[in-house]
Amino acid sequence: MLSVFILAPFAGSLIATFFPSDQRGATAWFAGAIALVCFLLSAGLYPFVATGNVLRLELAWVPELGLSFTLRMDGFAWLFSALITAIGVLVVLYARYYMAEEDPVPRFFALFLAFMGSMLGIVLSGNLILLAVFWEMTSIVSFLLIGYWHHNAHARDGARIALTITGMGGLAMLVGLVIIGRIVGSYDLDAVLASGDAIRNHPLYGTVLILILLGALTKSAQFPFHFWLPHAMAAPTPVSAYLHSATMVKAGVFLLARLWPVMAGTEAWFWIVGLAGLATLVLGAYFAIFQQDLKGLLAYSTISHLGLITVLLSLGSPLAAVAAVFHIVNHATFKASLFMAAGIIDHESGTRDMRRLSGLFHYMPITATLAMVASAAMAGVPLLNGFLSKEMFFAEAIETHLVNALDTATPYVSTIASMFAVTYSLRFIHSAFFGPPPTDLPKKPHEPPRWMRAPVDFLVLACLVVGIIPAQTIGPFLHTAVVSILRDDTPQYSLAVWHGFNVPLIMSFVALSGGVGLYFMMRSYLATGIEGPPVFRLLQGKRIFERVLVTLSWKWARSLEQGLGTRHLQPQMRLLVFIALAAGALPLVIGGFHLPPLVIRGIDPAFALLWAIGIGCAVGSAYQAKFHRLASLVLLGGAGLVTCITFVWLSAPDLAVTQLLVEIVTTVLILLGLRWLPKRIEEPRAAEDITIKTRLRRLRDFLLATAAGGAMMLIAYTMMTRPLPDTIADYFLARAYREGGGTNVVNVILVDFRGFDTLGEIAVLCIVALTVFALLLRFRPQADSLEAPEQQRLQNAFDDDHPERTAGDSVAEYLFVPSVIMRWMFPVTGMLAAYLFLRGHDLPGGGFAAGIALSIGFILQYMSGGTRWVEERLRIHPLRWMSIGLLVATATGVGSWLFGYPFLTSRAEYATLPVIGKVPLASAILFDLGVFSLVLGATVLMLIALAHQSVRAPRAFARAARTEKEAAR
């Protein structure tokens, strides 16, 4: 049953979005029907609730987190849901007439229904987290509702402020609720409500209180978070009417009331809630006086009235709680009707500005009368509902709850606030309906359509009826609600209009007469038409908020982002090196690691000399990398060679072979790339030209590099001098031949034991080749490297200058003898590749080495003959080779499935062939063949793609020249 309250609005919302946008009536009827159904349902549930029963619905959502979809209707929730749905029906009816033809109504009603659903969700939640869910949903949906007319900048700002403030509060509240859940051990509302003492006595009570209050006070626009509410006025008036009366802002006080039994009654509660409430009560009322916008006035009045409710709740006395609940209802009725009235004025006259409005009584007497009654209720005039709750408030205000200054001040402050309320109520009525006939209204005012006024009629009637015979009308409902909050603490109270001459009555009288007097005293000031109250006008909440938001979320954030981050590479690298260094060193330093002793003995002088050369190469390469790229590359090659020799020296022939081959290809690649990096002009290296800053930076980098190098040296030395632990290597050494079928253990590891690594590794090569290829297809060299290199231009010029020579003779001559040899070397490299490939399983070599070796054969041909020459003769399909390679390697692995073994299980068989004898047929060889094919393809592809740029560049150069010529013309 309860689920209808949630399901119907949300489903309706969803359906409403699909209404055509010109179907204003139909959409409104639909939305109204939904609201009505909900209202009728709550009406129907009353008898059940009235007997003190609690209606529950529990659906599992995330039981692991204690979050269940629990709906729970007690009297208080019932009162709220009745209010929400009832006013919802009226607002829909009103909106049907209010919304203009061109407004996309389906969106409006969809959002409206969603909002109603969220609000119902809040009041019906039986689980704290579910409450938070609906809580934030009202923030989100209200954001969309306030920003409904998003072409209007005010609407956008208003929506944003509302969401930011209430959303923030909601997030804080969530934390508070989670902590409550932790204290109680459950998020279930019943459980929570039963654990008041545990919560109040918990050391974290203060924290929880502040967090929860952040949510509640922001939502109900309490000082100092009040300023979002007036800006929410930019919403369509039906929305304002709804948000300000029964929903949104009421959610805050609803929560305060809901948690009142478990949170209230402490000093902290009294002070925080009371201070916020009193400040809001007075300031809201005071500000309301000085508004020029009808809706603005009402908005501040709402703030003030919510302050009143908050003060009531802060007092911690059950009677005050009753008053609070009562005022919630009363405020909803008169405020909704007032907003609607203001909307009617706006709708029919075209403005809400009190400076332009005047004497409307003449044009819309019924509306004016209704508005007057509602205003009177707002002002707390006797025989209207507002009076009753205010009297109760006064009565509570003079009671002493706690002995302190705040408590003492409460009666005076409330009287002053009530006085202000009278003033602004009077102002609302007087400036709009009385005075001289209006002069510059955009429209000629008249009474609204009959049904547009009907909701106002109804609500004003309610104000009157409740005001006159409260006990017979609202009484039982109120009692039901109050009992559900206060339970056994429910006090005796009477809802009579007349309680005799007592202090509250005097206070009311003072407020009424004072308010009227104040209004007439201030008329001249108000007539100046200045928006906003004196002095405080300068302190606009919105502007402060905007300033703060811009400063925090924009200026500071941007400077912080720039300060804490960087878009340069060098600092990032520096940080990375530094952090890595620290990360590696800290465990050793903190752990008190013992460094091994330094052993100088047994140093091979040849090896030492070799590494002296290697170190020289490395340092030289670093030194030359800026201005002598070629020299740096040469030195890098030297370091590579020393590395290769080291591998041989230290029993790793496979590594040496591979490193050597890779070395060669890398060198050629980088040289191919150097073509596109014009020579760096040597900068003047005079000492004065290098700034101190640069020097310091270099010194810092040098120190960091030295530290990194030193650390690597230390850790390498440490590791290498430690005894080898039990390693998995023994397993490989023992099984490489017997089970892997090869004597070269490294190769067996690569193609069998850890063949999967190799598969991944060739995939990496494949990816890189494809990337290089794709990127180079889009390569656009810098203009200064488009031209042929200087050498070629000179040589071509030379050839051109000599009649007996043709262009290209120079290079042909240059390469004449070498190319003969290089051509013959092609089959030789092929032979070498075949040899490396076939012996790989038993001796150093393998598919990878073979592939690289053969690709070097191709490079030689390209170097000697040029791209065109080679490609006219050899059909090279590196992409296909790569594809085949990867497929063969994968398929070999999959092949073992046929024999019922996992991927890559190798099979080694010996086939006996005539003449030849036993031939090893290991699947690993097939796998290696795939490796070979892929490596060959990938390497050749990268080299060719890079080499092709030289063929493309002249074309591009010609085109660039052409464009330039055209531009010149």
Partner: protein
């Protein structure tokens, strides 16, 4: 035969290389060697290297030995030059030799031999005028060098007929 063995010399060379690499004359090894070297010769065909005919291949070993002897001599001579480099003024210089060798492979081999021999280095060969530019460490023996080169050329002409 040509279709199967487009470059018999190359195939033979490759086959020999195969045997040397594998250190094996087992039937399987030989068969594989034949297959690989033949296949590679086919690939080489695509690049169309100029064919040469080894007319008198039997003169090759003798020629090789002579070259090795020259190399040994040159090594000694160059070593002396290097060791005395600081004490004696440089006598290095460029010289040219006119050649009339037609076969491009023979020419390449000649250039190789000359360059491989310490003390002489081919720098440039003008195909139109058939002039070989050399750099020699010891220009005082220019005539000797020229004679040596011409001698090699003559030998190679004999072999590549």
């Amino acid at each position: 035969m040509r279709t199967w063995f487009p470059y018999p010399l190359l195939s033979t060379g490759l086959f020999l290389m195969w045997l040397l690499l594998n250190q094996s004359v087992a039937p399987g090894s030989i068969l594989l060697g034949i297959v690989v070297s033949t296949g590679l010769a086919w690939v080489a065909l695509k690049l169309q290297p100029r064919r040469s005919h080894l007319g008198r291949w039997w003169r090759l070993p003798g020629f090789g030995l002579a070259v090795v002897a020259d190399i040994a001599r040159s090594n000694l001579a160059v070593a002396l030059i290097i060791l005395r480099a600081r004490r004696r003024p440089s006598r290095a210089g460029f010289m040219t030799v006119d050649l009339d060798l037609e076969d491009e492979n023979a020419l390449a081999l000649l250039a190789c031999i000359v360059t491989a021999t310490p003390g002489t280095a081919c720098l440039e060969f003008d195909r139109r005028s058939k002039v070989l530019l050399l750099h020699v460490l010891d220009i005082e023996n220019e005539e000797l060098w020229r004679r040596t080169v011409k001698h090699y050329e003559a030998e190679l002409k004999e072999i590549f007929q």
